[in-house]
């Protein structure tokens, strides 16, 4: 089980990194989202893996999943929505303003690329 979770984190991280290094805003945003999943799951697993023991107190139950990483990740998920929204807005604003959705500033070599962007 640990192998599955750890490899899932690894795969999502790798995919996220690759997409963040792309040249257009949309794949970069996808990459950031993937990285967010990976990081959230990574943080969540710092409480180690527990099945069938949610941290809801019950009489006669002694083993619970670690509630603290859960609480921290819960807010992280909501905040990451806010951050994604801001990044998307910035990317969208840049595209609407310049008809160009490259993440890199134009340099001398690719100055004329804006025209064929769409």
């Amino acid at each position: 089980m640990e192998m599955l979770v750890a490899s899932a984190i690894g795969v999502m991280t790798a995919g996220g990194i690759y997409l963040v290094l792309r040249l257009r805003t949309f794949p970069v945003i996808m990459g950031i989202s993937l990285l967010t999943y990976a990081v959230n799951v990574f943080l969540f697993t710092s409480g180690r893996l527990t099945t069938g023991a949610p941290p809801i107190l019950r009489d006669g139950v002694a083993i619970y999943a670690d509630p603290l990483p859960q609480a921290l990740v819960l807010t992280a998920i909501v905040i990451s929505f806010g951050m994604t929204a801001v990044v998307v807005m910035i990317g969208l604003g840049a595209f609407l303003g310049s008809d160009d959705d490259h993440v890199d500033d134009p340099t001398d070599e690719n100055e004329d690329r804006a025209g064929d962007a769409s």
Partner: protein, 959 residues
Amino acid sequence: MSLFFIVALPFFGALLPGLMNSAGRSACAGVTFTVTLAAFVGLLTNLPAVLAGDLVTARLEWMPALGLNFTLMLDGLGFFFALLILGIGLLIIAYARHYLSREDNMGEFFTYLLLFQGAMVGIVLSDNILLLLVFWELTSLSSFLLIGYWKHLPEARQGARMALTVTGMGGLCMIGGMLILGQIAGSYDLSVILQNRDLIQADPLYLTALILILLGCFTKSAQFPFHFWLPHAMAAPTPVSAYLHSATMVKAGIFLMARMWPVLSGTPEWFVIVTTAGLATMVLGATIALFKNDLKSLLAFSTVSHLGLITMLLGTGTAFGAMAATFHILNHATFKAALFMSAGIIDHEAHTRDIRRLGGLRTLMPVTFVIVALASLSMAGIPLLNGFLSKEMMLEEATHTVLFDTPWLVPVLATVASVFSAAYCFRLIGHVFFGPVRDDYPAKPHDPGAGLWLPPALLVVLVVVIGVAPFLAEPFVKLVTVSVLGNAAEVPTAYFKIWHGLVPALYLSIVAVVGGLVLLITFQLLNRIWESTPRPEAKTIFDALIAGVVLLAQKLILGLHNGAFTRYAMIAFVAILAAGYHAWSTGTVGGATRLPQSAGPVPIAGWGMLVAATIGLVFLHRNRFLSLMLIGIVGLMVSVGFVFFSAPDLAMTQFTVEVVTIILLLLALNFLPKYTPVESTLLRRVRDGGVAVAGGLATFALAHHYLLRDAVSTPISEFHLANSYKGGGGTNAVNVILVDFRGFDTYGEIIVLGIAALLIYALTETLLNGPVRARLLNRKPDQKRAGDTHPMMMVVLTRVIMPVILMVGFYIFLRGHNEPGGGFIAGLVVSIGVVMQYMASGFAWTSTRLKYPYHGVIGAGVLIAGLTGIGSWFVGKPFLTSDFAYVRIPPFEEFELATAALFDLGVFLAVVGAVMLSLESFSRLARRASQPESEHPMDIDPSREGPDADPAPTAKEAF
């Protein structure tokens, strides 16, 4: 009055002029005057103690761990300077009331002036050198505002910037010097430092500290080679020049040299550096001043020269030199402030300050003439005026000073400076007031009202009184000298007298006056020579220097920040990987302590979907709709994983967030291109893939390692589980942590979320009000529009389901404390319900039914959460302490009432507001772009009759 009040009064008083602005100019000046007068009187109440030789102190612990305490002290020296600052401040305020024109914003002016005054008083009363540094920087900042007060003038802005750059750089050096000094002495309290002369002078870092502190003093007091900022600061209104350059700003450096005199002076290093700088400044300033045609420039360079004189006297390191310096500080403040104010009067009345355009004003402005004549003659060193006394003391000291083993050097240079000094004073009188009355003044000059001439006149009275009866000033100057000297030297017994007999200083004085007259007579010839000699222009050098620094900074920063995001990201990833590798290879890893758990077919299937979706996303990311679907699968699998690993709250949150995120991305994709073209080379893709795989492997290894090991120390989670019910009153530990144990965190997070939403709103507004608006209006959708954008089935269904969603949200909210749920999740659920209305029935339809703006909802949420937290103050508990009780209202079962629920309500509202404001902003962009919506929620509505039943579809089908 407590010293705290004296320092605090100008700062708090600075709030008043702005408020009184609308009450009229007199009220504005009046309130400023009153504040300063209060501080002045407060200072005078401490006079008996100072006269008795006591040290008045006030102490407040601020950051004792850093050695930074709010400690103030008042001795003779501090009293002397505070008296000058507040006393001349009063005159300046009265003068400025009549000087500033109706176009000038008086409230702003007096606010800056009071800020500056407070900072100056703070410097001279500080007992802690760190506190002194704080005030020191405050004077740099507030003088920047004052010098640049006439923002519309480019020279004012440039002058202010130059002053800030030079004094700010000096301030930075001084911070270093002061820190070294504090380290050596083991305390940042001046009273301690001043006792440690031998310790400090024996330290190997003494010279470094000395040079750094002197750099601060020299830049502030415009000593050569930092003198150039002062004349450019003359672009300020004249009251500012009179205040900053006679009694305050430039005297701060002098003050500090005097303050530090007992510990820093007396060494050869001090003597050579300070005396040389002072002497050079004195000669240079006096020479340049003679050839300046602008009255204020002339006075500015004369100030530079006199500051050099005082510095030189302090540099000699003798008790007599210190006393002469103290006396000259007093004298210079009186005559120079009067002269600056008079220059302002001439400018005000004749509309020019150019000496070449003036002359013959003696009969036209007799009052001003008397003031200027007396003050100038005092500055020239004519007997029976106070300038004579201290200047003669300076010449006396000069004859005893041997610099660079050359006995004649200092006396000769001092005399040269005095000759030029006398010459420019005579020129000031002769070329402005004597000579024929001209008929080409820009305005008809006449004496101003008493409001303008009375302040300088009062100062001139002092000039004469001290000059005629020096014994009146003697006890006071000696009192100040005592505190300058500390216990480093004895106060000299010399008496202040007009006639000392035929001493060398007298001959030198006579040489100076005669030489000055000769220079004035031959001025035209000298001026031609001066004009034809090439001179380095300080401003050009300064500008070139600044341009060079800017160029360097640009080269460095633009080289690193070239705007390529992919490059930054790559550098970051590689750096993180390298740091991780370093930690991995140097750290130790313990053996596995946990047994791997076996995985059944269901988890393996989920894992397979997640991995497949991620890999698919990477390879198919060019099709953006497809990638949106794939990332949806990844998110779904993560949510399912949370369910599986005992985190129901997380699963619910992730799931709901997933829904709103996808909607948001769909809204954005409406505008963005639908496909990503192939641009990067294969090599680049392989390189990125390599980094990505390395990063993935690293995280995999890290996660796998720690999943199989227990925490090194016991996690604090045990505490949370144990106290969740006992202390927080809830059985859902996650929710109790959010709203209770770590409520402050959550409070911060909802604020961040609110700010993010407001940022999106602000960006949308900017876009919609800028050039993008036109683009959006002209934009042709790149995809076919649906013929039926608001399908009847969906409209009906979403409306039916809305109350159900609200009820579910309410239920999730209420049970949150004990079962999975709570404010965050309830907020997201309700948001989805509202978003569905937007999607089904259209933006216009939903907006008109919206009673509360989303900003308000966010604000209300944050306020409710904050007020809940504050509520605990009223019962004497820290912020956000929660309380709960169980109540029973028949016929319901017993239930719990907790203040945490109120806090959770705040969270709920903030989440709803933030999510909705973000989505609404995006859809507003979309609305701009598309055709106006139909007025009806449904495009095809069988219940609607008539030909105008569905006007929209025809329009929309055109696409």
